[in-house]
């Protein structure tokens, strides 16, 4: 199981396991609706009349329970979410670092995200963006309201024709459209990408964002991840809550997003806590289908017997074969059984040895 391989990783960085009950007050989710990607939640009335919910998310509970101290936690918890039109129970594995988020603490979480992906496949891809940099750039273009939304969704699609159309219709200046096209084209290893982005920075705030990013890149290099992380400003998470670095992870042969995370200081602030926060979650539900190893056989040996055979002797033989590390299924010969894939089928005969049936 995935969590058995990942938990020791998080513990080796001193992260503490966070556990919680299945239920949480519905209020928590109602008040932070825009933090959840989808609003649908399973609710029920508790015996005392209060409205409860089956947790659709862990991060909100971690922040709610934070007392203002620095905390580093990881979790493996089931969440209940709508997927493809029905509710599903999904195992979510994640890491959250809450408190004073200094440059090291931030880079550590990104490094853990990379190590998480690496545990699953060495050929992972981790992409990084900074929403504050993108925000500064859009501010500089005086993009507000619906037009800003439109540009952001075009950016997420790397939709160059869409930007060109906006420019042609006069809804973007030629300069802004050129900068946006350059921004969505940018896809390079972190340091190289930052150098390219410097050409796009027009004001002090965006240069400041790049300087911080560059500091993060230095620390990530110390983690040995210099070339593994790429800069891609087309990444989008729900933007209202993320305020700095965001990142997404991808795995070969998994056609959807595998991991997603970022810096989300506005959430604890909204809950009245003076702390910062950064974290990520692994979407295990999507991974399982792609990573499940195809088993060729259900059982190594199918041992068939007839009514005349002695069950005690059959059981003894089967036990001896199992002791050699093989799986054995005993089944009456000719019985109507559900189809099963076995490596080898042997008819039991009295007195045969494990070596004989396995040869």
């Amino acid at each position: 199981m995935l969590e058995e391989r990942l938990n020791p990783l998080y513990e080796s960085y001193g992260y503490r396991r966070f556990r919680m009950s299945k239920f949480e007050d519905y209020d928590l989710y109602a008040q932070n609706k825009d933090f959840l990607r989808r609003g649908n939640i399973i609710t029920f009335t508790d015996v005392d009349g209060s409205l409860k919910a089956l947790k659709p998310d862990i991060t909100l509970s971690i922040i709610k329970n934070n007392t203002g101290d620095t905390e580093k936690v990881y979790y493996n918890e089931n969440v209940y979410r709508e997927m493809g039109g029905t509710f599903r129970e999904i195992l979510q594995i994640g890491v959250e670092s809450v408190g004073a988020i200094d440059p090291y603490a931030q880079a550590e979480v990104i490094a853990l995200a990379a190590r998480t992906l690496e545990t699953i496949s060495p050929d992972y891809v981790l992409d990084l963006s900074d929403v504050s940099f993108v925000g500064c750039l859009l501010d500089g273009m005086a993009l507000e309201g619906a037009r800003r939304e439109e540009v952001l969704s075009l950016l997420a699609q790397k939709n160059a024709p869409g930007i060109q159309t906006m420019a042609r219709e006069g809804r973007l200046t030629a300069e802004a459209s050129a900068a946006l096209l350059e921004l969505m084209e940018l896809y390079a290893p972190l340091r190289e990408g930052i150098a390219q982005a410097e050409a796009l920075a027009r004001d002090e705030a965006s240069r400041q964002a790049l300087r911080q990013l560059s500091r993060t890149a230095d620390i990530l290099a110390a983690f040995g991840l210099e070339d593994r992380i790429r800069l891609d400003f087309s990444l989008m998470n729900s933007l209202d809550y993320y305020n700095g670095v965001i990142f997404q992870g991808f795995l070969p042969n998994v056609p959807v997003l595998a991991l997603s995370g970022g810096r989300y200081d506005p959430l604890p602030r909204k809950m009245g806590k003076d702390v910062g926060a950064i974290g990520f979650a692994l979407y295990t539900g999507r991974l399982e289908e792609s990573l499940r190893q195809e088993r060729q056989y259900d059982v190594d040996l199918l041992l068939t017997y007839g009514p005349e055979d002695n069950p005690a002797e059959l059981a003894a033989l089967a036990s001896r074969v199992r002791a050699k590390g093989y799986s054995v299924r005993c089944q009456e010969e000719g019985a109507l059984a559900a189809p099963i894939r076995c490596r080898k089928t042997v008819r039991y005969t009295r007195g045969c040895s494990p070596e004989e049936v396995l040869s």
Binding site: Q157, P161, F250, P255, L257
Partner: protein, 212 residues
């Protein structure tokens, strides 16, 4: 190897020609047979034909790395893909069409027949107008003739079909053309290959524009 989903029909054939001219040819595709996939290992491409409205599904789910899809399909289904290039082919308009002398009675809810319910809903939402959507799968022009709907939202290429049925385009919602789309994860893992394909297509386009 890049998997390319092509829309069945004229647009797909034209798109293949452009890709072939851009250096991604696959001669097997021209053979007349019932095969569904065509491969050219030398050029590192595999093509397959799918229903035009399914191209974005194949690409979104990663069964195809890239594909050619009409902007109408992308607007209707909003798949989570990268839209990398406007191929400038298959040009047409998404229009509201209706009887030539159409008068909209402000006291009645407008009945709209269409194959594109999301596009129609979004368009009328943006004008804060309540409508009654009738989703049809074909022969949309028939709906206003038989009084099933007041207007239709559909693709208009030349307007000939409309004219023959005494209908006329009333408003243009958006211009449509074919787009080169890519799966978001494939873009990351096959970045060089997909960019090479996009750039080759783009060069081919500018060459064609220059010739015109």
């Amino acid at each position: 190897m890049i998997n390319v989903a092509l829309p069945k029909g004229r647009l797909g054939e034209k798109a293949y020609e452009t890709l072939a001219a851009a250096g991604f040819d696959c001669p097997a595709i021209l053979e007349k047979n019932r095969k569904l996939t065509f491969e050219n290992p030398e050029k590192g491409v595999r093509y397959f034909w799918v229903k035009p409205s399914d191209v974005s599904i194949y690409v979104e789910r990663g069964a195809a790395d890239v594909g050619i899809a009409g902007k109408d399909i992308l607007l209707e289904y909003s798949p989570d893909v990268y839209e990398l290039l406007d191929l400038g082919m298959g040009r047409c308009r998404m229009c509201v069409a209706g009887p030539e002398d159409f008068y909209q009675d402000p006291n009645k809810t407008l009945r709209v027949a269409t194959k594109f319910p999301h596009i129609a809903t979004r368009y009328y939402d943006s004008r804060s107008q309540d409508i009654d959507i009738i989703k049809l799968n074909g022969s949309i022009e028939l709906a206003p003739i038989l009084g099933l709907s007041d207007v239709i939202v559909d693709i208009v290429e030349t307007g000939k079909t409309l004219l023959e049925n005494h209908l006329a385009p009333l408003e243009t919602i958006v211009d449509i053309s074919a787009r080169f789309i890519s799966n978001k994860v494939s873009y990351k893992f096959k970045h060089q290959e997909i960019l090479a394909m996009r750039d080759a297509l783009e060069r081919n386009l500018t060459k064609k524009e220059a010739a015109e």
